[in-house]
Symmetry: C2
Subunit: 191 residues, 2 copies
DNA sequence: CTAAAAAAGCGTAACAGCTCAACTTTCTGA
DNA sequence: TCAGAAAGTTGAGCTGTTACGCTTTTTTAG
């Protein structure tokens, strides 16, 4: 790795670190991009060269490849396991794995939960994989790739993680969401 | 109705009309708010006084009360009809009723479909009623008002209309979405 | 090896949507 | 009638974001 790329990566990391620190200290809406750029000793233009998707992207630095994991969860699920069950397990595992990996991950989640713009951005990051996931589901079920039912299942499954954030018990809430997707609405009229 | 309120309503209408005309003529992103304000012969600040939710709100002027209709669809559904079925019928009826009411409604829908910012805004308008609808569903099923399953059903049902836009056959697509919510994912592995 | 040219970082200035403090106009009621 | 409250309007200015040009580094050609 050349000297140039190393400096580039260092600048990018300095920007992301400064942003996360300032955001958690004073709140997302109270910190401007010029201030973040100053803290990393670069100009605002440079910040946007490193993060073309804008201010929100500063928080979601690590862009791991979730798409492959999602498609694999559908394709390589064990016999007898339904598609919703496979996605459910995959999303649960992903979440707990991340919580245990980085101690700062809690602050990270709290920041996202309390900032509408970041929740929206997180949702859109998940939904970027909607098309690929829908295609994998359709292929598995022997339906055309743009089948609306498959698209709906992919869409709802990808939205589930964002939807259950803020619940008192997110894991149980996720159970309920995937129970709905797997078995349908089973509620009957009270009394 | 006093002279003052009439003038206010006239200004608001002039703004909405100018916006819709300019947007359909040249595209949403090609028209600035200052230009719209000029066309209505007011300043940009005045525009935001009339539409505090911003540029997108100019397009969704008529703010009919859908919340009551949604809650009523759940509460007053005929015996034997499930909650998803009731919501499905209600959303279908709402759509066709609007298409037949105003001939300009087609242009309106096309504008929304081709503008990501407007699609997002439409989605958020629907989701404003998520809490009320979830509470109505929970009440009907005898569950606590913040039950995650009820919240998920409300959320997915409200997102359905936006999700099926752009499909080749939106009505059939809506059938598939509500089949998923009513009966769960029934697909089995191909071959 | 060196000069040129291609690429990439960087800052200035600007434009977009949007808000704030102040000024005018219109309505109210004693 | 006429203060003063309420509502409407405005120009200046803030924030996220981008286009343009300048400088620096890297690659390439002879």
């Amino acid at each position: 790795m050349g000297r140039r790329e190393r400096k580039k990566a260092a600048t990018r990391q300095a920007l992301a670190d400064a942003a996360l620190r300032l955001f958690t200290e004073r709140g997302y809406d109270e910190v401007g991009v010029r201030e973040i750029a100053d803290a990393a000793d670069v100009s605002a233009t440079t910040l946007f060269k490193h993060f073309p998707d804008g201010k929100e992207a500063l928080v979601f630095d690590q862009d791991v490849d979730r798409e492959a994991a999602l498609v694999a969860a559908v394709r390589e699920r064990p016999t007898g396991q339904s598609v919703p069950q496979a996605l459910h397990r995959m999303l649960l595992g992903e979440h707990s794995r991340r919580v245990h990996a980085d101690p700062r991950f809690d602050d990270f989640l709290r920041l996202i939960d309390t900032t509408p713009a970041l929740r929206e951005y997180a949702r859109r990051m998940w939904l970027r994989h909607e098309y690929a996931l829908a295609a994998a589901i359709a292929d598995d079920a022997g339906l055309p790739a743009d089948d609306p039912g498959c698209r709906a299942l992919a869409h709802f499954a990808l939205e589930a993680p964002v939807l259950v954030r803020g619940s008192r018990d997110p894991d149980t809430a996720l159970d309920r969401v995937f129970d709905l997707l797997g078995n349908g609405w089973t509620g009957t009229r009270a009394d």
